[in-house]
C-alpha cells in the first residue's frame, strides 16, 4: 500500500514541473516581445524595460524558468496587469467562490446521479429506467451555458424567484450549481446503472439474497459497494471537466470565481494571471486524480498490486 502511494505521490512534483514548463514556454511563445505584451498595450518604454528586467528576458531560457519556478514556489506569480494586485492575491480572493460552486455542483451531481442510476438498475426495463436514461443522454448532450441562460430567463427574469447575477446569498448558488452539475449527474447516472447491472447478477449478490438479507442491504451494502470502482473513477476523471465547465458557467452568472478571472485575463491579455490560474487549475486536477487513485486502492486492494 505504502509503496503504491509513494510511487503515486513521487510522480506528482515531476508532473507539475513538466506542466509548469509547458505553461511557461507557451507564454514565451507569444508573437513579438513578451515584455511588451505582458506590460500591456498602453505601457511606456520604461514599463516595458522594467518588465524585461523582471522577466529576465536577456538571460538564457533555462535561467528564466528557474527564476519563474523559484518565485512561484515562494507564492509569487507576478502582478496582474489589470488589477495591479499580486496574482496570488487575485486568485486567493476568487478561489473560495469556485470551490463553493464546484462542491455544490458535485453534491447535486452525486445525489441525483447515484440515486437515479441505482433505481434505474433495480427497476431495469420499466418506464422509470427508460425515462431516466433518456434524460441522462439529453443531460450529456446539452450545452451547460445554454441551460444556464434558459434557467436564468425562467427563474430569475420571468418568475423572479432566484437572484439574477453574482454570489450574494445561498440562493445565488442554486442555478449555477444545478446547471453545472447536469453533465456530471448524467454521466454518474449512466455509469452507476451500468455498474450496478453488472453486479446485480453476480454470485455474491445471490448469496446475500439467499441469506435472507433485506433488499436495501443487498442493493446498498453488496451491489453498490462493488459497483463503486467505475463510479469513483468517473467522478474523479470528470472533476477537470467540471472546472472547465465552471469557466463558462461563471461567465454566464457573473460569478466572481477563477473561471471569470481567467476569461477576463484573456480579454485584457493579462498573461501573468492566465499563467497563474492555469497552473493552479492543473495542480487542483492532478491532486484530485491522486486522491481518486488512493481512494480506489482503498476500495479495491487489487488495484495497488497491478
Amino acid at each position: 500500500m505504502f509503496t503504491y502511494l509513494f510511487r503515486k505521490v513521487a510522480m506528482l512534483p515531476i508532473m507539475l514541473l513538466a506542466v509548469s514548463l509547458l505553461i511557461f514556454s507557451a507564454v514565451r511563445l507569444l508573437p513579438g516581445d513578451p515584455a511588451r505584451v505582458m506590460a500591456g498595450p498602453q505601457a511606456t518604454q520604461e514599463a516595458v524595460n522594467d518588465m524585461h528586467e523582471r522577466l529576465g528576458l536577456g538571460r538564457p531560457f533555462i535561467v528564466q524558468y528557474q527564476v519563474f519556478l523559484s518565485s512561484a514556489l515562494r507564492g509569487d506569480l507576478g502582478e496582474s496587469l489589470h488589477s495591479k494586485l499580486p496574482v496570488t492575491q487575485d486568485i486567493a480572493e476568487r478561489l473560495p467562490y469556485t470551490a463553493g460552486l464546484a462542491l455544490t455542483s458535485y453534491l447535486f451531481a452525486m445525489l441525483v446521479g447515484l440515486s437515479t442510476g441505482i433505481f434505474a438498475a433495480i427497476y431495469r426495463g420499466t418506464w422509470f429506467d427508460h425515462l431516466a436514461m433518456i434524460i441522462a443522454i439529453l443531460g450529456a448532450s446539452v450545452a451547460n451555458f445554454w441551460l444556464a441562460l434558459m434557467a436564468l430567463t425562467l427563474f430569475s427574469v420571468q418568475l423572479g424567484w432566484l437572484p439574477l447575477l453574482g454570489a450574494d446569498s445561498w440562493k445565488s448558488y442554486i442555478l449555477p450549481s444545478v446547471t453545472l452539475g447536469v453533465l456530471p449527474a448524467a454521466l454518474i447516472a449512466r455509469m452507476t446503472r451500468a455498474s450496478m447491472l453488472e453486479n446485480l447478477h453476480q454470485d455474491f449478490v445471490r448469496t446475500a439474497r439467499a441469506k435472507g438479507l433485506s433488499s436495501g442491504a443487498v442493493y446498498l451494502r453488496h451491489t453498490l459497494r462493488n459497483a463503486l470502482i467505475p463510479i469513483v473513477t468517473i467522478v474523479g476523471l470528470n472533476f477537470g471537466g467540471l472546472l472547465g465547465g465552471a469557466v463558462i458557467t461563471e461567465t454566464v452568472f457573473n460569478w466572481p470565481g477563477l473561471g471569470r478571472l481567467l476569461v477576463d485575463a484573456v480579454r485584457f491579455r493579462d498573461y501573468a494571471v492566465i499563467q497563474g490560474v492555469t497552473l493552479l487549475t492543473v495542480v487542483i486536477v492532478v491532486s484530485i486524480n491522486l486522491l481518486v487513485d488512493v481512494l480506489l486502492s482503498a476500495i479495491d486492494p487489487r488495484i495497488r498490486f497491478e
Binding site: M15, W146, M150, G244
Partner: protein
Amino acid sequence: MTRAATKPSQQPRRRKLLRYPNLVIGAVITLAVVLMGLAAPLLTSYDPYLQNLGDSLQLPSAAHLFGTDEFGRDLLTRVLYGARISLLEVTLSVSLALAIGLPLGVVAGYFGGVVDQTITWCADILYAFPGIVLAILIVSILGTNLINMLIAISVFSIPGYIRLTRSLTLALKELQYTEAALSLGASVPRIMFLHILRNALAPILVQATLTAGEVILSAAGLSFLGLGVQPPAAEWGAMMSEGRNYLGIATHLSLFPGLAITFTVLGLNLLGDGLRDRLDPRFRGRL
C-alpha cells in the same frame, strides 16, 4: 417474384438494425444535421448575414419561423448555416487530432520502452489540463479565430486518441496475423499502419464519434466566451452570446441555437453509443 426474393434477405438486416435503436436514431439525427448544413441555401430564401434593421428582434412568426435577431437577420437561416460551421469544426478538429494521435499511439504501443514512456508521459501532461482551460491558454497565445480555436480543441482531444490507439496496438501486435505479416517480410511501418491500425479502426471510430459531440460543445463554449468564432459568423455559440443581452425580451435568440447544439450533440452521442453497442456486444443495453 423479385420482391419475394429480396424480402427475406432484407428483413433480418432490418430486424438486426432495430436491435440498436441508438444507432438508428443517432444516424438519422446526424444525417439530418449534415443535410441541413449542406442544403441550407435551398431550405431558406434569406441571407444569413444581410442586415435589415426594420425587422430587428421579431418574435417567431410565419415569415420568420425562429424570429429575427437584433440586426433583423432571419434566425432560422442563421441556425441552418450554423450547421455548416459546426460540421467544419468537427471535421477539421477530429481529423487533426486523429492525424497526430493515431500515429503516436501506434508507435508507443508497438515499440514500447522509452518511446512508449515518453509519448505516454507527454499525453499525461496534456491530460492534466481541463480541456477548456488548455484551449483558452492556446487561444490566448495564438489569437481568437476559428482556425486557432480548432487547433486548441484538437490539442486536448489528442491524448485520448493516443491512449486508445496505444492500448489497442498492445493487444493487436500479439495476434497471429501480425506475426505472420512480420515473418512474410512486411516492413514495420506497413505492419503498424496497415495491419494494426486497420484492425483498430472500429473502436477509434466510436471514440471519434463521441468526441465529435465534445468538439461541438467546446467550440460553442469558446465562441460564447468570445474566444472562438467571432460575430457576425453564424456560429451557434457566438449567436447565443449575442442573444445573452436580450434574455426575457427576445429569448428566442439564445433558445434556438442552443436547441440546435443539443440536437446535434444528442445525435452524435446516440450514434457513438449505438456504434459501440454494435461493435462491442458487452456494452449492449448497459450504458
